[in-house]
């Protein structure tokens, strides 16, 4: 049956709505999918992403659990061992840490240690990152911890359409996915139709969000809109910037990233998480190893400072913003630096 044009009409929708729809469709299509976490049932989650799911599918399919993150993830491991496909919600980034041991020692390793006998088709949804005025422990960009753990996939959507597609792909994946939902994009809007939600993309493919010739901004999740805004502003400076949205940090799409950097010759990695030992260092190294002869300048990073996440009244100084991105782009050893005497 083809949906009518009216039903598939694209209307403004939020990222949160697209995520809810992805969960709903997964629950409807696959009886082994179980959503579980703190307040996900009656309340619909503190960000309302599981709104209506318990009412539609029952308390066993959308389960309010006791308040214990290791217990939530640990029991989800047991459920996956029995053939279920749990989708776990951690209430906030910094409250996922109690589950870290289960994640590292079991979720990430189970398939490997059993030679494939016990795959872990688990999705761990984590509202993450700052920029929402959250008080202490509500704004961590924690992706580096997860990236340091082989066996996990780490995915983060930056658009409404991707929120749907990537979450469906994560749930369908037979390997565990840490699914980082940028909190400050929950209420971002785009024209989107839940009846024609778009393709479910494969995990591990980056997307070029803006074509440009002079330099590549490489980013993901909450920093994508900032980079797009910076790219727009850069036109005034005469820079034509390309913007790559990684979407999946693990698996990592070297191909798309390198193809872009080889074209532009310059790259800046932008993310909220701290710079030291953050994803930007890894990405810069990968680019340097693969594209050295195409580079006109060192790969630079715009990252959060190497500080504990700041209180909300100061967070704007910490988060990568348009100006800091443009200042960094300015340091990419442009030829005009030499002609205008700015080079050393």
């Amino acid at each position: 049956m083809t949906p009518t044009a009216a039903a598939t009409a694209r209307k403004p929708a939020t990222m949160a709505q697209a995520l809810t729809r992805a969960l709903r469709d997964a629950l409807a299509e696959d009886p082994t999918v179980h959503v579980m976490g703190e307040d996900v049932g009656t309340l619909g989650g503190v960000f309302r992403v599981t709104d209506g799911l318990a009412a539609e599918f029952g308390d066993d399919r959308c389960m309010d659990t006791p308040l214990a993150e290791a217990g939530i993830l640990g029991t989800a491991v047991g459920m996956a061992m029995y053939g279920l496909r749990p989708v776990v919600e951690m209430q906030f980034d910094a409250f996922a840490y109690p589950a870290f041991e289960q994640l590292v020692s079991h979720v990430a390793k189970m398939r490997n240690r059993t030679r494939g006998a016990l795959p872990m088709p688990l999705t761990i949804r984590i509202p993450y990152g700052g920029g929402i005025g959250g008080v202490e422990h509500h704004s961590d960009a924690s992706e580096a911890y997860y990236l340091a753990t082989p066996g996990l996939q780490v995915v983060t959507p930056a658009t409404v359409e991707d929120a749907y597609g990537l979450l469906r792909a994560a749930i369908a994946s037979d390997d565990p996915v840490v699914f980082l939902e940028p909190k400050r994009l929950y209420w971002s809007k785009a024209d989107w139709s839940p009846e024609a939600p778009g393709e479910v993309p494969p995990l591990g493919r980056a997307a070029v969000r803006r074509r440009g010739a002079d330099a590549t901004l490489i980013t993901y999740g909450p920093s994508l809109p900032v980079c797009l805004e910076a790219a727009e502003a850069a036109r005034a400076e005469g820079w034509d910037l390309e913007v790559v949205d990684l979407r999946s940090l693990m698996p990592f799409d070297d191909e798309t990233v390198c193809a872009s950097v080889r074209r532009t010759g310059r790259a800046v990695v932008v993310h909220e998480s701290s710079g030291f030992a953050g994803p930007g260092g890894e990405i810069a190294a990968r680019i340097t190893e693969r594209c050295f002869h195409h580079l006109e300048a060192p790969v630079l990073r715009v990252a959060g400072f190497d500080i504990p996440y700041p209180p909300p009244m100061l967070e704007r100084h910490h988060l990568p913003g348009v100006d800091r991105i443009l200042d960094t782009v300015a340091r990419l050893q442009w030829e005009s630096d030499w002609t205008e005497g700015r080079g050393e």
């Binding site: 179980h34 066993d60 659990t65 006791p66 214990a68 290791a70 217990g71 993830l73 640990g74 029991t75 989800a76 491991v77 047991g78 459920m79 996956a80 061992m81 029995y82 053939g83 279920l84 109690p98 041991e101 289960q102 020692s105 079991h106 390793k109 189970m110 398939r111 490997n112 240690r113 059993t114 030679r115 494939g116 006998a117 016990l118 795959p119 082989p150 066996g151 996939q153 994946s173 037979d174 390997d175 591990g204 693990m250 698996p251 990592f252 070297d254 191909e255």
Partner: protein
Amino acid sequence: MTVLEQPGSSRRKGGLPGPPPAWHPRVDPAPLLPDAEPHRVLGTDAALQLDAALLKRLYVQLVRGRRYNTQATALTRQGRLAVYPSSTGQEACQVAAALALQERDWLFPSYRDTLAAVARGLDPVEALTLLRGDWHTGYDPRACRIAPLCTPLATQLPHAVGLAHAARLRGDDVVALALVGDGGTSEGDFHEALNFAAVWQAPVVFLVQNNGFAISVPLAKQTAAPSLAHKAVGYGMPGRLVDGNDAPAVHGVLTEAVRRAREGGGPTLVEAVTYRVDAHTNADDATRYRTADEVEAWRAHDPIALMERELTARGLLTDDFAAATRDGAEEMAADLRERMHQDPALDPDDLFTHVYAERTTQLRQQSDQLRAELAAEAATDEPAQEARP
């Protein structure tokens, strides 16, 4: 039965009119409490009621189990096992855990519980690959319904709860039995697992083998609880205390707990009081933290000796049965020894095969790199080998 006294029920004039609105009495803790003494069967009148076939079956498994422990310990000295945490002295718990389960049930063992897996029918060589070091899990957990041997303490307990809960959601009458040590009860995962199990009324049984020590640390430094079985009460599940060296007693308590779980009665926590006769592992020196007298006192309460006394009293320990039991154990040990003396087949490419369902581009590159390194290594080795007479 204790009568629950409701706060605010004081008859003093001017006292509160009653309990606050949110408070209501919940569960009567009395039936959940463990007995004051560990439950015993051997040497009591109850032993006379025991089925002779069960007694003999337990005995055969205990003798095999002891032999398995001594053989595995010997294999560490011969360099065939990297390490072995022996369950010598704890065989009654190991064997009873295995025999209390139906085939469709799941066992969740720790590193010390390879014997429980073997008593359930797992090939001892497959049970020992973790400790030999050729692969972490040497068997297919789904095929034998034995979870991977778990080393991070107590982290297997929530898995057992989740699996049991999943089975119930699917309408299967499967029970999970999870093993943990006395030290492991201090871990947060122990608490979370018991709490989830009770809230969900999951068909799961927790068996704590209280063997007196967590490596060197005695129970007194681990907890101030009246007993480990008492911890059950706080979660709203029954706690049972049993003599862990009395095989029929442990078997009886576990069988009852498994039955209860299967019938929808919810989880049970069982504390079996036993003793780790050997050091923590072959690499440990137990003389640094306990006296020889203490060990000797426990040897006098040996699970096999206790069973032999009972079997003899009932005229069941005939010379033929004793000899056949011994021979069977020796045969198992000889077979284990022989197969463990063969080098395991190792394929370095296995390192990349099961990290994900499909290798990532990066893992393909790394596997190619390793293969090239090995080929280069083989090429330089070959002439040297040919040169040998």
